[in-house]
């Protein structure tokens, strides 16, 4: 650790802890998941940055959506995202969550993930290599440093819109709204 780092630790330990202790819940229904195991095992060893996979969204602070999102998985993605404690960050992997990618004309996948949940970082590629994932994570660090990884705040303030989008495509959701919804009733 260089001196700069140490200074930062003293100035804002919470922010630093958020940066260097990213507990990840992987959403692994897409093809991108095949890139995750190399990134967390001996070859690239994500743990040296404090990135480890955890079992439930309650324990996590980073949400990685690895690949295309079908309508069915979107439901689970929203649920999982809402169950993560704040502050929480989202990173999507691959082209599909950005604009549909090779599934751009599928009736059954969504094209723009950020319409339904806020996404802090998008790693393009089909599929991105593990190195790209690390690049994405470093980018997320900068965003956290600059307080720009504020997806959870956006989700909170624009919840009515997000919920409307979600219900538009999924129909009525089984769980009650996370935050109060404006404009209804």
């Amino acid at each position: 650790m260089d001196r700069n780092q140490l200074k930062k630790w003293f100035q804002n330990p919470v922010k630093m802890a958020h940066k260097y202790s990213l507990h990840v819940v992987y959403f692994c229904t897409g093809c991108g998941i095949i890139e995750i195991p190399p990134s967390i095992t001996a070859r690239w060893d994500a743990e040296r940055f404090g990135i480890i996979p955890v079992a439930t969204p309650r324990q996590a602070s980073l949400f990685i959506i690895a690949g295309y999102v079908s309508l069915k998985t979107l439901r689970s993605i929203i649920r999982t995202y809402e169950q993560m404690p704040e502050p929480k960050f989202t990173v999507s992997l691959g082209s599909c969550p950005i604009n549909g990618g090779m599934y751009h004309d599928s009736y059954n996948t969504i094209k723009h993930l950020e319409k339904y949940i806020p996404v802090d970082g998008m790693i393009a590629g089909c599929m991105p290599r593990p190195e790209a994932i690390f690049v994405g994570v470093t980018h997320l660090w900068t965003l956290i440093d600059k307080d720009m990884a504020d997806g959870y705040k956006r989700y909170r303030s624009n919840y009515s819109a997000y919920r409307a989008n979600q219900e538009k495509i999924l129909g009525k959701l089984e769980w009650p709204p996370l935050f109060p919804i404006h404009g209804e009733e």
Partner: protein, 296 residues
């Protein structure tokens, strides 16, 4: 002096426990040919967790966890660390045995309240596993108490200073071996890691813990590690007059545990119980009989 010990020993225990957690991750990484996280990584995790806004499932969810950690903290007051044992006068080994119940019980109440079946499964496994290793463990402890004719852990430690480590004195050899065999189960390391199996039951009791709760749970885990190792060192490896030597002994035991953890796959819970109730129990039983027959 005394007051300082009261505050110092739980903090020391926490520190060592957290250090062990970090060290465990580092060592495991090195065994697996990885670089591994910094040793302070658990501390970073705890700071991060404390700042997260977690979901709470009710009053018992909070209280159980608090109870669990507090119970474990109190045990550290009874366990001699070197010569630091501020409350050894208020009760001996029996009190420790019973205080060791508070930790799992509080955790069980808390995660039961989280209303998640994964947590319930985990807790049921945790209690079963405890039942499994408690059988040989109690036999070992009773053999020790019978052999030294005292229930006070400080006296057991000081008596070992004359006779040598109990693990290597004659009537207690068998008990020592049995203790060594069940130690991985007591520390909750790999062959017996069914409780928190993350891939299987979503980390079991911890499934609904996030934020500060997970921080507490991590600290509780650290303390459990500390208590397990410290108990073994005190009872079997003669404790120590000097905190530093004591720490070194703990480190050795800890490394033993980590190596076991690194090379073994996970047992099913019934396999675990069957193992624990077979050889370690038989050896411990034989040890107790040996002590009774040869003892005073």
């Amino acid at each position: 002096m005394h007051i300082i010990e009261f505050i110092f020993s739980p903090l020391l225990a926490l520190l060592i426990g957290v250090f062990f957690l970090g060290l465990a991750r580092k060592v495991m990484a090195r065994i697996q040919w990885r670089y591994g996280p910094p040793v302070m990584q658990p501390l970073i995790d705890i700071i991060r967790l404390l700042s997260q806004k977690s979901a709470s499932h009710g009053v018992a969810f909070n209280i159980g966890l608090v109870m669990s950690l507090a119970g474990s903290l109190v045990i550290t007051l009874f366990l001699p660390f070197g010569k630091i044992a501020p409350m050894s006068n208020s009760g001996g080994m029996l009190v420790i045995l019973y205080l060791m119940l508070i930790g799992p019980l509080g955790m069980a109440i808390s995660s039961g309240e989280s209303a998640n079946p994964n947590a319930s499964i985990g807790i049921s496994r945790k209690l079963l596993l405890a039942m499994g290793y408690e059988l040989p463990f109690l036999l070992v402890v009773l053999a020790l108490m019978k052999a030294y004719n005292t229930t006070s852990i400080t006296e057991i430690v000081s008596l070992q200073r004359d006779t040598g480590w109990s693990m290597f004195t004659f009537p207690l050899v068998l008990s020592g071996i049995a203790y060594l065999l069940i130690l991985p189960a007591m520390l909750g390391v790999r062959p017996f890691e069914v409780v928190n199996a993350p891939q299987e039951i979503s980390s079991g009791p911890l499934v609904e813990y996030g934020g500060p709760y997970l921080a507490l749970a991590t600290l509780q885990h650290a303390l459990a590690l500390f208590i397990g190792i410290s108990l073994f060192v005190n009872l079997m490896w003669g404790g120590a007059a000097n905190p530093v030597i004591f720490f070194l002994k703990m480190l050795v035991v800890f490394f033993l545990g980590i190596f076991v953890n690194a090379v073994f796959p996970r047992l099913r819970i019934d396999q675990a119980i069957r193992y624990l109730w077979r050889w370690p129990s038989l050896i411990a039983f034989a040890g107790l009989i040996l002590v009774c027959v040869t003892g005073s």
